[in-house]
């Protein structure tokens, strides 16, 4: 989860998120280069070291057409690479459905057993010591670690969005539509997210918690929940 003073991304817990973090560093570096260039020239102009009194500027016009085109290509290539990587067919080991309601999530694991449960936020008054306010839920989404998982996201009433930043996942939940996303949790742990599409009074109070565990514990848990 995010720290109160955090400025950057949460630590990546999936290969896609690692790529996104790297791409963000690349894009930010390009943005920094452009901003520093503009700031330098602006300072020169404001301190009258430079002026724009020219009559013929063919060369610079060429430069400031070609250079931005190159910058755009530098940004587009890794971006498209990650976009296509996210859409790769990766034969998921598990498929689960996440259905958004006002204001909770329902999860359906229908691969083997018919397992369905609701996931409500734990109210602050009921929160045990040491747990995270407005982030904990009564029933977490348990997934096996290092296994590709497919999530089908939809909604029952209004728009919601199923997001877990650490796994690099954010998918809109639209009534009457099934959206697909996938992730692979590279390590065991608990990953927090929040509804990311305004959906009414308690939009901020329907969090998502994904718990990545061993396959054996996942199977035990699913047997217990189904019975």
């Amino acid at each position: 989860m995010a720290d109160y003073s955090q400025f950057g991304f949460q630590d990546a817990s999936s290969p896609v998120m690692e790529e996104l973090v790297e791409f963000h560093d690349h894009a930010l570096m390009v943005a920094l280069a452009i901003c520093s260039l503009v700031l330098y020239l602006l300072t020169m102009m404001l301190t009258e070291k430079l002026s724009s009194s020219t009559v013929d500027a063919q060369e610079i016009e060429l430069v400031w057409t070609i250079l931005p085109a190159i910058v755009l290509i530098l940004l587009a290539l890794p971006s498209l690479q990650i976009l296509y990587m996210m859409d790769e067919v990766n034969e998921p080991d598990l498929t689960l459905k996440a259905i958004g309601h006002q204001w909770y999530w329902t999860y359906e694991y229908t691969d083997l057993k018919d397992l369905t449960f609701d996931s409500y936020m734990v109210p602050t008054t009921d929160l045990p010591l040491g747990h995270f306010r407005l982030l904990e839920v009564d029933h977490r989404v348990i997934v096996p670690m290092e296994s590709p998982v497919r999530v089908i996201v939809t909604a029952d009433d209004v728009l919601h969005s199923w997001a877990v930043p650490s796994l690099g996942v954010k998918t809109d939940a639209i009534p009457g539509r099934l959206n697909q996303t996938s992730f692979t949790a590279t390590r065991p742990g608990i990953f927090y997210g929040q509804c990311s599409e305004i959906c009414g009074a308690n939009h901020s109070f329907m969090p998502i918690v994904v718990e990545s565990t061993t396959l054996a514990d996942f199977e035990n848990w699913s047997s217990l929940m189904s019975s």
Binding site: Y40, T186, T214
Partner: protein, 67 residues
């Protein structure tokens, strides 16, 4: 004073380019590369089961309560 603007413009445009490349290089080697190395170091000798056992012992997992 002859061709003053042209000289200054050439100098400062070059300067601006150097400053912007310098900022980008600083960010790349000050932030981006250390971050990549940190991820690589973390996963080089990462023992998922050991991490999992620590979490289980701490009692934070719903699927694997401590015995």
């Amino acid at each position: 004073m002859r061709r003053l603007l042209a000289r200054r413009m050439k100098f400062h445009l070059l300067g601006a380019f150097v400053v912007s490349m310098g900022c980008a290089t600083l960010y790349k080697f000050g932030v981006a590369e250390p971050r990549k190395r940190a991820y690589a170091e973390f996963y080089k000798n990462y023992d998922a089961m050991k991490d999992f056992q620590a979490m289980k012992a701490a009692g934070v997992l719903e699927s694997a309560p401590p015995k």
